[in-house]
Structures are given as structure tokens and as C-alpha cells.
């Protein structure tokens, strides 16, 4: 019964979109907004965990979809397309937001850095060694190792983020750790 209702809703949306595209009547887009604003908002709120950001982004999702409506394939279901746009915009938003925060933190570090130029040169050499050591790891190892040491995530967090099992994560971190030490010491 629910499946049938969903089918009927899809047909209704497809009709509105056809009318919008053939007649240029933007009121049909208003109807689509009314129909899908709740689930789109829920997606944005779920990802951003902030009501105001989610509200602004929900509006942006519908505007972005409207601007790109001619790229949408009318034969495909509409909501998954809209959902993808919401997810992509949230990802972009989060990345921009984290960058701002990271830049602010960096500024604070620079202000409090009391070390001289020699230390900075040493750090540069060390940085290169570490970079090479990490680059030598295989992708899953590198991912799990960095999530654990660099991003300070727990084993369970890493399982959720990567989709690897707990045993795989444990093994990747252990092997990565060994490899890192060997590669690092060889270059010291």
C-alpha cells in the first residue's frame, strides 16, 4: 500500500516537473518544495546538526535543483536525485566549515609558537620523513592508521567511517604502526 502511494507520488511529481519544463510555470516548483521540504530538511539537519544551517541549506538544495532541473532525467525517480544534491551540498558545507575552524586553530598555533628558525628547519626535514613513511603504507592501512593517530578516532569510529570490520581495523592499525616505525627509522 505504501509502495503504491509512493508510486502515485512519483507520478504526481513527474507531472509537475513536465508542466514546469514545458510551461515554465514556477508555481509547480513551489509545490515540489512543499512536498519534499521535510525529508530534505531532515537530511540536512541529520548531517549538520544545526537548525539554522540546515534551514539555509534546505532552501539552497531546492534552488540548486531548480537551476539544474534540465539536467535531471525525467524517467528516473525524483527524490533520490534531490537527496543526492542535499548530501553533496552538506558535504561541501561541512568541508568549508571545518576549513574555517582549522585556519583559526592554525592562527592560534602561529601566535603561540615561540621556537626559532632552526627548529622550523628541523621540523621541515622531519615532516618530509613522516610524509614518506605514510605514503609507503597501503590505502586501507594508511586510512586506519591516520584516523587513529592523526584524527584521534576510536576503533569503533573507524569501523563506522571505513566499513572495515573491527578485526580488519585493528590489524591495519597494527601493521601501519610497524611499517611507520620501520620506514621512519630507516630514514633517520
Amino acid at each position: 500500500m505504501q509502495g503504491e502511494r509512493r508510486k502515485a507520488e512519483e507520478i504526481e511529481t513527474a507531472e509537475w516537473l513536465k508542466n514546469l519544463l514545458s510551461g515554465g510555470d514556477t508555481r509547480y516548483w513551489g509545490r515540489i518544495f512543499e512536498k519534499y521540504k521535510r525529508p530534505v530538511f531532515a537530511r540536512c539537519f541529520g548531517m549538520l546538526q544545526n537548525e539554522e544551517d540546515a534551514r539555509d541549506l534546505t532552501s539552497e538544495v531546492f534552488i540548486r535543483a531548480f537551476e539544474n532541473i534540465r539536467q535531471y532525467d525525467l524517467k528516473r525517480p525524483f527524490f533520490p536525485w534531490l537527496y543526492r544534491i542535499a548530501t553533496n551540498l552538506c558535504i561541501d558545507f561541512i568541508r568549508r566549515n571545518v576549513r574555517v575552524r582549522a585556519a583559526q586553530e592554525k592562527d592560534v598555533e602561529n601566535i603561540t609558537d615561540e621556537n626559532g628558525p632552526d627548529t622550523r628547519t628541523d621540523n621541515e626535514a622531519l615532516r618530509e620523513k613522516i610524509k614518506t613513511a605514510i605514503e609507503k603504507m597501503k590505502s586501507p592501512q594508511k586510512m586506519c592508521f591516520c584516523l587513529f593517530y592523526l584524527h584521534e578516532k576510536s576503533y569503533n569510529d573507524i569501523v563506522q567511517i571505513t566499513g572495515y570490520t573491527l578485526d580488519e581495523v585493528r590489524s591495519h592499525i597494527q601493521n601501519g604502526r610497524r611499517k611507520f616505525k620501520l620506514a621512519f627509522e630507516r630514514r633517520v
Binding site: I11, E12, M47, T58, I130
Partner: protein
Amino acid sequence: MVKNCDEDAVISGCGPVLDSLKNTDPGQCPAPELLAGYHSRKLSGKWKRQIEDHTALCPLCVRALEAMQAAEEAGTAQDGIPENWQAMENALDKRFHERLKVVSAGWTDPAGRKTTPRAERNILQSVADAVFSTKKLVFAGALASVAIAGLYSYAFFSRVDTFSLSRIQPEKITRLRAGTPDTGFGEGLRQYGMGEYGSAIHSLEDFIKENQDHYEAHYYLGISRLADAEVRLLGLPYRFDRSQVEKAVFDLEKALSLGRDNSYYTADCCWYLGKARLMLNEPAAAGEWFDRIMQLGAPYPERKEDARRMIARLDRAASALINQ
């Protein structure tokens, strides 16, 4: 264990330098689609490796992956609505409509022709100006006006309606005419039978003012409105009056509530209410009316067959849409 501690000591000694390897530029990050694909475990091979290599050193992408995970854990789309949704909804509506107004300002041309950027349109306009002289344009405009006026006149006088109402109605009209003493109502029916839907609407409206509970009058007023709402010319829609269809829905629902005991009218009202909903692009609501005909005790079999066919068509259209 000792070995691990030793390794940990090496790594923690590298801590601040390790931190400096982190990516802080979103411009370096992979496309959001790829990250979403990684999160939904749809990537493999080269793409998966590339995402992992990048994400290992990218707190921005790690945060985005965590957010997707958090959203998934929060539940399905309908669950994640905060309690003060009502207040937020108003602000959201306002913001959306303001933005839409701005964005849709250059977006009114049918069939996608107005997506041409403004600068490009100006160039096209200049080319058109160069090719056509003003006199030629005036002549072409006059010719087009005459052609359009001709077409509209033809359509107005021919009034080809799409409902095929006359196919099923004459018999019933004759029967009712013979039986009804109401002359105003009889006049409305006569006009309806002649295809003079506009006049029929006026006559029936006047009649209803004095006889508000006359369900047949409401019924015929409803279907006259439906027939009057859409006129086709050579098979193509040339005029559609949405408000007329909405009024028809009101009349038919009134007829349905008044003539509940007459199964003939109940089935017919449901049928035309379904059709009206289709005209309003509301197939879900239309389907409910056709379903209702199927559930009726004793409607005449043709109408039940019509409803069955219509439901099958709606279902086919729905599954075609879903499968694609």
C-alpha cells in the same frame, strides 16, 4: 606489547609534525559524489584507494564521512525533524520563495529556450536585428497575429472537448428530461446536450440558487464545468481553466453528498471527480476516486469497467516510472 609502546612513542613524538600534514584546502578534496559513494560502500578498486589515500590526511573529508554516518544513525528522513519545526518551516518557506523569485526571474520561457544566457541572448538579438529589417518584422508580426486569431476563432467555434462526455450522456439526459418538471434545469440539460457548456453553466447556476439540494443539477453543473475547462484544437490543448476544474470538484462533491442514495450518480460523480483530479495533475487523488467506484455495491457495469481500466493505466504508469 613493549614493541607497541615503543612504536607509539615514535608516533607520538611526531605528533605536531604529523598534524601539519593535514589537508586544510577543500579544493584538494574529491567530489562530494565520490565521498558519498565511499560512504555508501559503492566504490571499489582505484576509486576506493584514491578516497582512502586522500581522506587519511584530510580532516575535512573525515568530518563529512562522520556527518553522513551520524545522519544515517539518526534514522530515516522523516524522523530527524526537530520539535520547533513549525516555526522553522515559516522561515524556510520565506527564504525559499525569496530566492526562487530571484533565480526564476529569467526562467519563464517554455520548453527550455530561455536558459540562454543574457549575453548570448543579446548577441542573438543583434543577429536577428541585422537579418530582419523593422518592416519585415512588423509584417511577420501582423501575419502571425492573423494566423493566431484564425486558429483561436476556429477553436472557439468547434470546441472539441476531450472528455467524450456526449458519448455516454444523451440517453440519461433524455430520461431525465422526460421526468423532470424543472424548466430551468431542463434548459441547462438541453444546453449541455448541445455542447453549449458555458450557457449550461449559467442556467444551472441560476437554477441551483433556488434549488440548492438538487443533486442532479449539481452533477450536471460539475461536468459542464469540466467540459468547459479544457478545449482542444486538432488534438492539442489550447485552453485550460484550472479554476473551472476546481469549481467542478466542489459541485461534484456536493452532488455526491446529496445524491448518496442513487448509485448511478454516486458512480458517475466518483468517475468525474477522478477525471477532475487527473486534470489537476493529482493522480494519487484520482486513483482514490476510481478505487471508490470499484468498492461501490451496484454501479452499472460499464462504469466499473472504466474505473478498472483507469486504475490499471495508473498502476502501469507508476511502475514504469519506478522501474526506470
